[in-house]
Symmetry: C2
Subunit: 448 residues, 2 copies
């Protein structure tokens, strides 16, 4: 798959039109989430590394041009103006890991109009997905309240590529590990895993399975104890641990039924067998709500594995995001569609204490005591900094999360902070709205 043709057709037809009309002046597009999904008190900015990789590589090849022509059913010659086009613009962005809220630009792209337009679809596809997943995973971290979390989502993500990204995003918000081998390797995250029910079933007995696993894997092992009867499974695991002199670092995994009650019984049984060091890991349909319930109930569970619901951000699998033109050729623009009004002009987010944010214009001076969130990360199509690290992104996430007000942190009915608009942004919006309403939608009067 060519990254260049992995785009909506209209990006191509619009870019072609811009080139034919010689509209190559700088355009600024702003990528933001209009509204947070219900049940979200914050979003975690994510996807920027992929965006910068994509823009760095972006170049319309000869075969891309042929593919455009084919799907448009037009002669290749018509598409020639696009050949060789690459991205040499500027990107200002909120670094990954920072918390962001409704209406705040996650990134702004400034480039000759055709370039800035062409990259829209791919950028949205990266940023929307990754911000949705990181935000869901972050809520699990809140629910876990310090207990280790592991990403088990690969089998449920929207394909293996999405699973690879999920492993990274879970690590970004502080998960302790991932079951995803490629993810662990690529992102330098600890790999975690136990055994499946099939493993137990393939042996003549549960005990035979546990003993064989321990034989093959020297060092700490985790046994899955709920294939047949959980209490008996725990007893069998305890016997094998004791026989083999195993304990510290070992664990049992519960994957079905009433996890809290089973964990209590398992803890009692393990402790009675002198296996205080054996950990209990819970999995099976968990998300932040399930983890929270178990943590609040005081279930003796040492680590939680989450999968399906987190890897697909099941209750908010997409975000209401937009990539909107805010300025073309030094002229601020805006849209007036019902319920989809956009604010004009390149922007900046000024973050005050307690994550009280002001959305202002990019060229405003930061209000006293605030920090600008968007930084220039690409200039002339080149990264301004070395690639970001997961550790740095995680540190930013943790800092912002610590400053998030309680009403926005809570899992149920959170109230997200509502950014305000700066005086200058409000004034510009009024001026542009007036200009647009009085002219631009009419019969072609020049309004710049």
């Amino acid at each position: 798959m060519s990254e260049v043709t992995s785009t909506d057709l209209y990006e191509v037809t619009m870019a072609l039109s811009y080139l034919r009309e010689d509209m190559r002046a700088p355009a600024t597009f702003s990528l933001f989430v209009r509204d947070l999904p219900p049940g979200r008190g914050f979003l975690v900015a994510a996807g920027l590394e992929g965006v910068l990789d994509h823009l760095s590589r972006y170049r319309v090849s000869g075969s891309d041009v042929e593919e455009f022509a084919e799907v448009l059913r037009r002669p290749v010659a018509d598409l020639e103006p696009l050949r060789g086009l690459s991205f040499d613009g500027e990107v200002r962005a909120v670094p990954e890991g920072r918390l962001v809220f409704a209406g705040e630009p996650l990134l702004e792209v400034t480039a000759p109009l055709p370039q800035a337009q062409l990259v829209e679809t791919y950028l949205l596809s990266l940023v929307v997905h990754q911000t949705a997943i990181a935000s869901k995973a972050a809520r699990c971290v809140l629910a876990g309240a310090g207990r280790p979390l592991v990403d088990f989502s690969l089998r449920r993500t929207h394909g293996p590529e999405a699973g690879l990204r999920a492993a990274r995003l879970c690590a970004l918000v502080g998960f302790a590990g991932t079951s995803n081998v490629a993810g662990a390797h690529l992102w330098g995250v600890p790999a975690a895993g136990t055994m499946a029910h099939s493993y137990v079933e393939a042996f003549p007995s549960e005990e035979a399975a546990f003993r064989a696993f321990a034989r093959t894997h020297p060092g700490p092992v985790t046994f899955l104890v709920d294939t047949y009867d959980t209490d008996r499974g725990v007893a069998t695991a305890a016997r094998v641990f004791a026989d083999l002199g195993l304990g510290p670092g070992c664990g049992i995994r519960l994957d079905s039924g009433d996890l809290g009650a089973q964990a209590r019984r398992a803890r009692t049984a393990l402790d009675a067998a002198g296996l205080q060091d054996v950990r209990i890991i819970a999995s099976g349909g968990l998300d932040e709500y399930g983890v929270d319930r178990l943590v609040r109930d005081g279930a003796p569970i040492d680590a939680y594995a989450v999968g399906s619901k987190v890897g697909t951000a099941a209750d908010a699998p997409y975000l209401d995001a937009a990539y909107k033109l805010v300025e073309y050729d030094a002229r601020p623009v805006m849209k007036l569609s019902a319920a989809k009004v956009t604010a004009p002009g390149p922007k900046q987010v000024f973050r005050g204490p307690g994550l009280r944010d002001v959305i202002g214009l990019a060229n405003e001076a930061p209000p006293e005591g605030t920090e600008p969130l968007l930084r220039t990360v690409m200039r002339g199509g080149l990264r301004t900094d070395p690639p970001d690290t997961l550790a740095a992104a995680r540190a930013r996430f943790e800092t912002d999360l610590a400053a998030l007000p309680e009403e926005s942190r809570r899992l149920t009915d959170p109230v997200p902070p509502l950014p305000s608009a700066s005086t200058r942004l409000t004034a510009l919006t009024t001026v542009v709205r007036h200009r647009v309403e009085s002219g631009a939608s009419g019969a072609g009067r020049q309004t710049t």
Copy 2:
């Protein structure tokens, strides 16, 4: 990304253990969806082509072995038994496009145990996602009731790779086109697209934008009319169409507000301008419910574009699917975990008239008047047939859909058909359950 390491760690540790224990006898795993998500009356089987591609290519390379060793923090020598392992087993599967229901195997893999285990995660990641998306898209087709549908989902899917698959799945269930250029090219689907609000905003006026677009793109064009004021946008579009002598094949797109009311006003205005041939296309947050409401209201909309909610299967973004060992070394096995009991043995689905299905054993004779759904599609690691075509899958979908009872077809509160179990499957389940309960979970008694 190596497809081989794009797997859960436990597949690797289990496979290694099987090899060390010399457990290489044939195993059969069954991939099925335990329960349909709420609001689904049927699922559309999808993902098999990708599965067969993956299995055909599967081979553990030297670098895969090194990656396994790295994430397991073990010497490469420990992982050597996996080097060169490829898939030479058999796959029986329900062809793509057929409707399937709770508990029915979508595919069964029979191969030496280590092989059949290693491919679990990747197969689930392909089949679960694709079946979820195809099933959601199919409901849009039902809602459209014959009106053309277009896939606009790429910017919202979980990454561009998921978008590429979504384009295929939408076409599989009968969509008329996709906005995804790579998807249109790869799957031979008509590409569709109009223009973005940014295009209109980049010009001094809406009319200037429309005229420029028509200049660049000879032939039929579609104008987006809701950037500023929809009624005025429609009037402007009508004027440009009339001036340029355009009409047949052209269209306007509505993307916000009350789509039904705007479409009515737009139709009236276009007709009054003699533009009966200009089509009205609606988009903006639509899924099967939105399309259904507009269709039932008699909105004069000629085509619907769906995106976010369909490309992420937003109300059911994952399925409760499992890949369960059902037989090892000619011994049927089953799991007894609370609420997750699995039926033992390799299976077949026998489809009767009206999609009344019987789940039986693979070696049963088909009951009178039924058709077996699972076919052998891979033997000795090689496809038994040439790659399937999208047209063939679509034909199968349409045939099954036509036979689906009304109560399962309806969009709201559908009642999915409930497959029954054959007498022989029920008998085997009883026998295996008794065997397992009386022995296998205990202290290692041999129960085969």
